[in-house]
């Protein structure tokens, strides 16, 4: 079996993919999830993973550049999208809603989470950074919980989460408002099964799977629609 360390936000999707993969190849995928930061530290200290699916480009690249990652193996498996979500908003939520919104919103911590960074860039582009006060989630799912639990009226969350949980009343932020949230993977040097891992990496980037990923609320590199 292959041990995959995956950023929490992609975990549910990966479970589905792994199930399909097992049916097709009989190969088992063991999934370990945590925040990208924690996974990165663990890998740096020799965690016995085969493949690292980071939620960003930065940590994947750092890993590839360190002696823990196989150089040249880095690849993008998905591109995240963010949405402005105001679940209790009376009207249809659009760009205007965002412009006019006042008060406190929830965002992911820009320092920790790539979705947070994208959120910050978006708000900056729209010149809205000073318009709100913020509560920050350590990651994007915490941010989702802040809003979902009713403690905050609105905020920026991953589009994938909204799709997964049938969230309504959101405005999908155009990708041009921020730098792409590239979720990248990298093969780890400690792996004794690099062949199998390469196979799985191919599978991840295969058309079928990329389509599946797209249906979960991500963009994909090869087949951007």
């Amino acid at each position: 079996s292959i041990k995959v360390a995956v950023a929490s936000n992609f975990k549910t999707t990966l479970i589905e993919i792994a199930a399909l993969y097992e049916i097709e190849t009989g190969q088992k995928i063991l999934i370990s999830s945590a925040s990208t930061g924690i996974l990165y530290h663990q890998i740096q200290q020799g965690a016995p993973f085969d493949l690292f699916l980071s939620a960003d480009l930065k940590r994947a690249k750092l890993t590839e550049d360190s002696n823990k990652g196989v150089s040249g193996s880095r690849f993008t498996y998905a591109q995240g999208r963010i949405a402005f979500w105001a679940p209790k908003h009376a009207d249809f939520v659009n760009a205007d809603t965002l412009q006019k919104f006042k008060g406190r919103i929830a965002i992911a911590n820009p320092k920790l989470a790539p979705y947070g960074l994208a959120t910050e860039q978006t708000l900056n582009n729209l010149n809205l950074l000073q318009q709100f006060s913020y509560v920050q989630g350590a990651n994007i799912s915490q941010t989702y919980q802040f809003i979902d639990s009713g403690n905050v009226k609105a905020g920026f969350v991953a589009y994938s989460l909204l799709l997964e949980h049938q969230g309504r009343n959101f405005f999908l932020i155009p990708t041009s408002y921020h730098q792409p949230i590239l979720q990248q993977g990298v093969l780890l040097t400690g792996s004794k099964k690099s062949l199998e891992v390469y196979n799985f990496m191919d599978y991840l980037t295969s058309t079928t799977i990329q389509r599946l990923i797209r249906s979960k609320g991500y963009l994909t590199i090869k087949y951007v629609n």
């Binding site: 320092k111 509560v135 639990s149 403690n151």
Partner: protein, 228 residues
């Protein structure tokens, strides 16, 4: 080296830990006293309830607190109506969570001291004309003072080290809910190792000093008992 945010996190943390300890030292003694003496049928149940924050992973505890703090739910709604503010992401919310979270650490040593207290002395106190309250303050309290100090120190230390809960309900608002433990976590996560080490070291040095001081004081008292 340390940023302004780090300093404000340090100040906030001590404010929170101090207030939490204060509140705990007010509510725990009667609770522990009751737990140590009561014959009420539900006592073990309430005892277990107090001990619960020990068993639940802090993030999970935080998650449930987040839900109950929501204006849609009873507590959070009540609070919103009373103060016009949400309980989550506020200092008060953190304070409430910290009190719940650290409660067993203060109640346990007190209760254990109360249970071990020789009933003979309480009888003497009654013959000296002290009612239960007076007995508690004039006899029990001074007799178990070392346990009070330990209890307070544990409560304080545990609040300083609190992380999961704060992460869940704090919202990381600088100067309001951004605590030392979270700042430290941020530094680790963002690979700012130097700041992380510095903060860790500071926290360590401080805690060590505090604990060494407390245990030093206790040692004197303890030694007296050993010597006598």
């Amino acid at each position: 080296m340390l940023t302004e945010l780090d300093y404000s996190a340090i100040i906030l943390t001590f404010k929170l830990a101090g207030l939490t300890t204060l509140i705990l030292l007010i509510i725990s003694p009667p609770l522990a006293w009751w737990l140590a003496r009561s014959r009420f049928v539900l006592r073990p149940f309430i005892e277990a309830l107090v001990a619960l924050p020990l068993v639940l992973p802090p993030t999970v505890l935080g998650f449930y607190l987040l839900i109950s703090f929501s204006p849609d739910n009873f507590i959070g709604g009540l609070w919103l109506r009373l103060t016009g503010d949400t309980l989550a992401f506020s200092f008060i919310g953190l304070l409430i969570a910290s009190v719940i979270y650290s409660l067993p650490f203060v109640v346990q040593p007190l209760q254990s001291a109360f249970v071990n207290l020789d009933k003979d002395y309480l009888e003497v106190a009654a013959t000296l004309g002290f009612n239960s309250t007076e007995t508690f303050y004039k006899v029990v309290f001074p007799m178990v003072l070392p346990s009070f100090i330990i209890a307070g120190a544990l409560g304080f230390a545990h609040t300083v080290g609190e992380f999961g809960v704060v992460l869940m309900i704090g919202g990381n608002i600088p100067g309001e809910t951004q605590l030392l433990s979270i700042a430290l976590f941020d530094h680790v996560e963002t690979l700012q190792y130097q700041q992380a080490h510095l903060l860790s070291f500071g926290l360590l040095a401080f805690s060590m000093t505090l604990l060494v001081l407390i245990y030093g004081v206790l040692k004197k008292r303890q030694q007296r008992m050993i010597d006598a």
